[in-house]
């Protein structure tokens, strides 16, 4: 084939993207929007238990990964784990030996059975001892968070065809305790298995997450069949030391962001709005322990940032840090000492966003690129090294291989000195930069080899 030029490729890309717009159903978009808005209308300051349930509901809906059963693993009946993103190995974390964790796991297993009993079934459905002949095996779908050892699966033979079952699932009044996620609907696909995911908020948020109930159905030569599988995970035990137990005197949030292809930069906010600070502290206090064992999965993205909340009280200082990632967890330290275990961030981010929006930035950031010119080598080059900012405070920042740098500084005027690696610093004249709170300014220090 002739090698297409860039214009032809651009046209082909455009055509491809436009052609696949049809995958986006505008009615679904509206339904999702309506669902989110309905969620928003719930009271913002829920009682603790209800808030925790809401948190867990959000967690139930949190990311999912594919799990593949080990070859030869039974896919049927009471033998539970049907595809899970959780590790397939036995619980190996140190928390497994903790009586508290064991108790949580037992409670979670009982909950899994209870939720399976809630599966909505049309009249005439008959439970099967295992999967019907011809039921697809191989790649499985799971809902996170999930622990394969806690999943339970059942199959039923359903009278009527798939259309009748879907009509039933669309119109059925769900048993008390089961809810549809905003925007969730019966999904039918041509020939393959269709599915519907339901949620049950946790009845004991401290012990286990909410439960996802995944319904999948398909017509086989011998009839129409429905499979129901539960997904949930047990939690660890939150240490008492991780709770803020005295009068709060200040709250700050340090937000670090790593731009795509750039160096990280940070900004610190003082949450001087008392109500916003209280809400953030309450949100942190309401977090549950992370699930046990910690999920392991393929993480397609690297970390891109971290939020760290520092809460100073009359008795000490707590730091709660959560980094972006597939399975983020809140790491806690008290008075500089890391505490064991982590917390589940759930929707902490929402409280953080609210606090930051109400807070006052107390630092700004400087970023830029150090350029080296002159000397025997042609063109403009970069140099690694260190930048020294001298002003209200003195700070140092490393210069990356591509010459880029970033620094977080209190407001003020700074003299910027370049200390390049392998180059006489006298080639690099000092420059000045003015940093304002909440602003991100660019500096362009350079070195000219004479």
């Amino acid at each position: 084939m002739n090698r297409p030029d860039n214009d032809a490729l651009a046209t082909l890309l455009r055509d491809t993207l436009v052609a696949h717009e049809r995958l986006a159903d505008p009615d679904r978009a509206t339904a999702i929007a309506v669902g989110v808005l309905a969620e928003r209308r719930r009271p913002s300051r829920l009682p603790l238990v209800a808030a925790a349930a809401a948190v867990v509901l959000a967690v139930v809906g949190t990311s999912v990964a594919l799990g593949r059963l080990d070859d030869g693993a039974p896919a049927a009946g009471p033998t539970p784990p049907t595809g899970s993103s959780a590790p397939r190995t036995p619980l190996a974390s140190s928390g497994a030996d903790d009586p508290g964790v064991a108790s949580h796991r037992a409670a979670a297993a009982a909950e899994s059975e209870r939720v399976l009993d809630l599966t909505p079934l049309p009249d005439g459905a008959e439970m099967l001892p295992g999967p019907p002949p011809g039921w697809p095996e191989g790649v499985r779908v799971s809902l996170d968070p999930s622990d394969g050892d806690l999943s339970r699966t059942r199959w039923w033979s359903i009278p009527g065809d798939v259309a009748a079952l879907e009509a039933f699932l669309t119109s059925v009044v769900l048993p008390a305790g089961l809810v549809r996620e905003p925007g969730e609907r019966v999904s039918s696909s041509s020939g393959d298995v269709s599915r519907l995911a339901l949620d049950r908020p946790s009845s004991d948020p401290e012990a286990f997450t909410g439960t996802g109930l995944l319904l999948q159905w398909k017509t086989l030569p011998t009839g129409t069949f429905l499979q129901a599988t539960t997904f949930l995970a047990a939690r660890g035990v939150r240490s008492a030391d991780s709770r803020v137990d005295s009068t709060v005197t200040s709250v700050t949030v340090r937000r670090t962001h790593t731009p795509f292809g750039g160096v990280p930069f940070a900004r610190t906010y003082e949450i001087d709005d008392a109500a916003a600070a209280d809400r953030l502290v309450a949100a942190i206090d309401g977090l549950e322990a992370s699930i046990e064992p910690a999920p392991v999965g393929l993480c397609p993205f690297g970390p891109t940032g971290e939020d760290a909340v520092t809460i100073t009280t009359t008795s000490g200082t707590w730091r709660f840090a959560v980094a972006d990632g597939c399975y983020p967890q809140v790491e806690v330290s008290r008075d500089g000492v890391d505490l064991p275990g982590t917390l589940d961030p759930a929707d902490l981010t929402l409280a953080l966003e609210e606090a930051v929006a109400a807070g006052t930035p107390i630092t700004g950031s400087v970023h830029g690129t150090v350029v080296v010119a002159g000397g025997p080598a042609p063109g403009v080059r970069h140099s690694t090294g260190t930048l020294v900012f001298t002003g209200p405070v003195t700070r140092r920042a490393a210069v990356a291989d591509d010459g880029t740098f970033a620094a977080e500084l209190p407001p003020g005027r700074y003299e910027v000195t370049v200390v390049p690696d392998g180059l006489d610093p006298s080639f690099c004249p000092t420059t000045n930069v003015v940093v304002s709170a909440g602003e991100r300014v660019t500096a362009s220090p350079s070195c000219s080899i004479r």
Binding site: M1, D15, V193
Partner: protein, 208 residues
């Protein structure tokens, strides 16, 4: 209340005609440009969300490559935005803000995401990517769509913003928090990789 959203109201139903594409591009520009605020009457976050949801879902699906994940990305984006609803509603360009939020949500790996059920492979899964029929000719667009799925999210985002949204590199750089040079680099490398991929694919097909 009169809020005109040309990308929703004026865009015809999907077709592969050039008119459709032109309409899309015009609509996209409206998202980022200054024509978004067409009414001086107050509007609510609900107005903003319901009006922009279809266009946001289109972008989400193209960013993620799948209906299900696109819907989850939209939901995660709106959940993230909902706490600042009234502030967003008061913005001059709320759709642009929502799109930046979506990009951030997408590229941050869904830390704030809601349910995400991944489908892939066969058997139990619904596959959103069109699969070529064995007895039908392979459309280059199918091949390109499959190739897009192999890209890193950032690189795919650059191509979607550049070739679907028609954004200039500077705006893409701002949305993705990177430099215009990085955008150009991704676009250049992306086209080169696509060229090589298509050439290989065609060569394979023409090999008896």
């Amino acid at each position: 209340m009169t809020i005109l959203h040309p990308w929703d109201g004026a865009v015809p139903a999907f077709s592969t005609s050039g008119r459709r594409r032109t309409a899309t591009r015009t609509a996209s520009r409206a998202f980022y440009g200054g024509v978004e605020q067409l009414s001086t009457e107050p509007r609510t976050f609900a107005d903003v969300v319901t009006a922009h949801a279809p266009a946001l879902l289109r972008l989400a699906v193209l960013l993620t490559g799948a209906t299900t994940e696109g819907e989850d990305l939209l939901q995660g984006t709106l959940l993230r935005a909902v706490r600042h609803g009234e502030r967003i509603a008061g913005m001059a360009a709320p759709a642009a803000y929502l799109r930046r939020t979506m990009l951030s949500e997408h590229l941050s790996g869904g830390r704030r995401s809601s349910r995400r059920v991944r489908t892939a492979g066969h058997g139990l899964d619904r596959v959103d990517v069109p699969q070529p029929s064995p007895d039908a000719g392979l459309d280059d667009r199918d091949e390109v769509w499959r190739w897009l799925a192999t890209l890193r999210p950032q690189q795919r985002a650059v191509l979607v913003l550049r070739f679907y949204e028609d954004l200039p590199d500077a705006e893409i750089a701002e949305v993705l928090s990177c430099t215009p040079a990085t955008v150009r680099s991704h676009a250049f490398r992306g086209l080169a990789a696509l060229r090589a991929h298509l050439t290989d694919t065609h060569d394979e097909r023409s090999t008896p």
